[in-house]
């Protein structure tokens, strides 16, 4: 079973040289720490920055320079700033190669729910709906089951949707899965020490198992 860092490390392997990437809050943010050597990527922050760097050293923070999670950050050489309209313009026109974000639920059709739980205080979707509706490649980083032990990989999402038919791949603590064109979670890899049966039990939506399922390499 993977921990959060394991999930981030596995997702990092999906990133290709030269990619422009938007990372959501949580596990996706960790991915930046595990980009393979020789691979250079540019991070987009939807509040208006390309070329986001690491957190500043203490005392060097700049209140005018934050990321979409409102954290103080830095810029790297070659960065550029722009307004929010252009930022989502480049997202909608699919110039951002990869979006990695968390989810509460994913359906076997690639629908995603990650912004609202009825009855709980709703903070808003931020840029998530724009990102999932536009990105050509979306990877979801999440736990396979929620805290109540219920599967988050479902036939249909039970929570209000963020976007429909948009998720391409899911990396959890148990497995790597892709959404099959005909619907269903196609199992691609098992986490170390996890059996296909473990994954079957944790997946409520249709699970597609074809041939031997390899254990993932980190």
């Amino acid at each position: 079973m993977l921990d959060k860092i394991g999930i981030a490390k596995r997702i990092a392997k999906e990133i290709k040289d030269g990619y422009y990437v938007n990372l959501g809050i949580g596990i996706p943010t960790l991915v930046a720490n595990y980009i393979p050597k020789g691979i250079n990527i540019v991070l987009q922050s939807e509040n208006g920055l390309l070329g986001m760097g690491p957190f500043p050293f203490e005392g060097e923070e700049d209140s005018d320079l934050i990321n979409a999670g409102k954290q103080t950050i830095t810029t790297l050489p070659g960065s550029s700033t722009f307004d929010s309209a252009l930022s989502f313009g480049m997202i909608r026109s699919q110039k951002v190669d990869l979006t990695i974000l968390g989810a509460m639920e994913v359906s076997e059709h690639g629908d995603i729910a990650n912004w609202k739980i009825p009855g709980k205080m709703v903070k808003g979707m931020g840029g998530a709906m724009d990102l999932v509706a536009s990105a050509k490649n979306i990877i979801v980083a999440m736990q396979h089951v929620n805290k109540a032990g219920e599967s988050k990989l479902l036939a249909e999402c039970s929570l209000p949707l963020t976007g429909v038919k948009c998720v391409k791949k899911i990396v959890t603590e148990l497995a790597v899965l892709e959404i099959a064109d005909e619907g269903g979670f196609r199992l691609l890899e098992r986490a170390p020490g996890i059996s296909v049966e473990d994954i079957r039990i944790a997946t409520l939506g249709k699970l597609i198992i074809e041939g031997e399922i390899p254990e993932m390499q980190l």
Binding site: E61, S84, G89, K123, G127, P160
Partner: protein, 232 residues
């Protein structure tokens, strides 16, 4: 030349009245029009509709207007970083319309570009799409979203000149340029007000034609919401 320069925020916002729709620039607490907000809080007006990506925190930004119960409705993409906001929302005192962040930005831009409506895929198939016209282009579904119509836009820039030209700094740019273009009347507060000719024409982010009033703000706090640092 008509003088766009006003003395301070009080003068700039003097004709904002109860019930108006305001756009307020900024992302979180970054790049918000602090001086204008403080003046609004000191003014006896309410029932405002505020278009702003966020709603401030309990003791800063739009949170101060909420505390004074000046806001009837927020149109935002992400809110609820403060307790008073949550209380008013749950009690029904405050109306909130949540819309996708890109849709928010693009509806501002549409107003500034004289486009009555735009198409975006954001929200298709979700509750955001309810009651909205959808349209298929090349096999993909889009929502038609309308340009915003705001009485005033309040923005904050780093530098500005007396002709109203604005330059923003780093990610404090965010919604400010698109809102500056979208207000019927646009008020810009700047950290540094300079004379015409002092700014390079090629470096101006918002041409002065979009800005009706401008002043040099004072006592900027520029608070940080999430201070994150790394080890040396």
């Amino acid at each position: 030349m008509i003088n766009k320069v006003v003395a301070n925020a009080d003068e700039a916002i003097q004709d904002i009245t109860s019930g108006m729709t305001l756009m307020l620039g900024g992302f979180g607490l970054c790049g918000i029009p602090e001086n204008c907000i403080n003046s609004l809080v000191n003014k006896d007006i309410d029932q405002l509709t505020c278009i702003s990506n966020n709603a401030g925190i309990d003791d800063f930004g739009i949170g101060l207007m909420l505390k004074k119960r000046q806001v009837k409705k927020m149109i935002s993409s992400y809110v609820g970083e403060n307790a008073e906001f949550e209380r008013q929302l749950l009690s029904g005192e405050l109306e909130v319309e949540l819309i996708p962040q890109g849709t928010l930005a693009t509806r501002c831009m549409a107003a500034g570009y004289g486009m009555p409506a735009i198409f975006t895929p954001a929200g298709v198939g979700t509750e955001v799409a309810e009651g909205k016209e959808t349209r298929n282009f090349d096999g993909k579904e889009y929502l038609m979203e309308m340009a915003f119509d705001a009485d005033f836009a309040l923005v904050k820039a780093w530098k500005g000149d007396t002709a109203g030209n604005l330059i923003f700094r780093s990610t404090a740019r965010n919604f400010n340029p698109v809102m500056a273009m979208a207000g019927k009347i646009t008020i810009a507060e700047v950290e540094h007000l300079v004379e015409i000719g002092d700014l390079d024409p090629d470096q101006i982010h918002t041409p002065g034609i979009y800005v009706h009033r401008i002043f040099e703000g004072k006592d900027y706090e520029k608070r940080i919401e999430q201070l994150t640092v790394r080890e040396r």
